[in-house]
């Protein structure tokens, strides 16, 4: 009969032995390497990484290219902007001048019309005032003359004689 204690001791020695553990560990590694095909995986990963790097490189180039294009496209931007601004300023100047001229014309026209209306109103007012004043003056003169004639009837004779005296001129005018 095998003594179990001996077996147990031997087992303990084996298990506790570093060499044994190392060998076991190595054997497990070999087995795993064989089972997983780690080389292939590494190769695959390597390819992927290379591909990623290539793509990154391409993207970088493309980005650089785009940047270049962008830089190129904005290269003349200040000049173009200056031209646009200048054009806009010129247009604005022309438009403002036109607006100003038209506004001035309109103002002149309004002023002219207003002046004409004022002149016409003034003339009408003066005319009406003159008419009223002259009528009133003539009426006053007439009234005064009538009073004087009433107080001095001999004046009638004077006016009749004046009429007779100016008759020559009137008859000549009528070709008598």
């Amino acid at each position: 009969m095998v003594d179990l204690s001996i077996i147990s001791r031997i087992w303990t020695i084996i298990v506790e032995s570093n060499t044994f553990n190392f060998i076991l560990f190595a054997l497990i590694f070999v087995w795993i390497f064989k089972k997983i095909d780690i080389k292939n995986i590494i190769n695959s990963l390597q390819q992927k990484i290379i591909k990623i790097l290539d793509e990154a490189k391409k993207e970088k180039e493309e980005a650089q290219n785009q940047l270049f294009q962008a830089e190129k496209s904005v290269e003349n931007l200040p000049a173009e902007l200056k031209i646009i601004v200048n054009d806009a300023e010129k247009s604005a100047e022309v438009i403002s001048k036109k607006i100003l001229t038209e506004a001035e014309k309109q103002i002149e026209s309004i002023e002219s019309n207003a002046t004409k209306i004022i002149d016409a109103e003034e003339k009408l007012l003066v005319s009406n005032l003159t008419k009223s004043t002259s009528r009133a003056s003539v009426e006053a003169a007439k009234s005064h003359i009538e009073n004087v004639l009433e107080q001095t009837p001999s004046l009638h004779e004077k006016y009749i004689n004046e009429s007779i005296n100016e008759l020559d001129k009137e008859l000549d005018r009528l070709n008598f």
Partner: protein, 181 residues
Amino acid sequence: MDTKNTLIAERYSDALVQIAKDGRLSYEKINADLEIVNNILAQSKDLMEFLTNPTISAEDKKGIIGKVFSEEIDTLIVNFLKVLVDKNRFSVFEEVLKSYKKTLDDVNNISRVQVTSAVEMNEESKVKLREKLEQKMRKNVVLELNISPDIIAGLILKMGDNVIDMSLRHKLEDLSKNIIR
């Protein structure tokens, strides 16, 4: 009175002038008789209406003319009035009288001037005015005087179609017009 009636009246007036020219009656006698007829017609509107009424016969009208005028005027003038009735033209009698007076004035070289004054003219002024007019017009002037206080003072003369306004009213109107201009 319209132009047509004036022309008709002138024709009848010419007939009267012819009577005068023929020496059957003087211009003045014809004028005097026409004035008598005119005065009677003016006093009696009924008589004028009777003589111009178209529904009354000419014989009746001529009978009345004979009765009313025979003792007042010459037979020739009575007959003249009867001719007017026969021709149904009695309505133009007044125009005939005017036309005849105008002809009579022409014959006598008379010009009638209507004179309007504000007050009555004194004799001296009348003579002065008439002499001046006669001298200028080389006609005998008869002044027909009217009084109108409306003219204020001065004179207005009307000779035919011509008017000479020398009144103070006219001068004031002129003054007013000149001020307004």
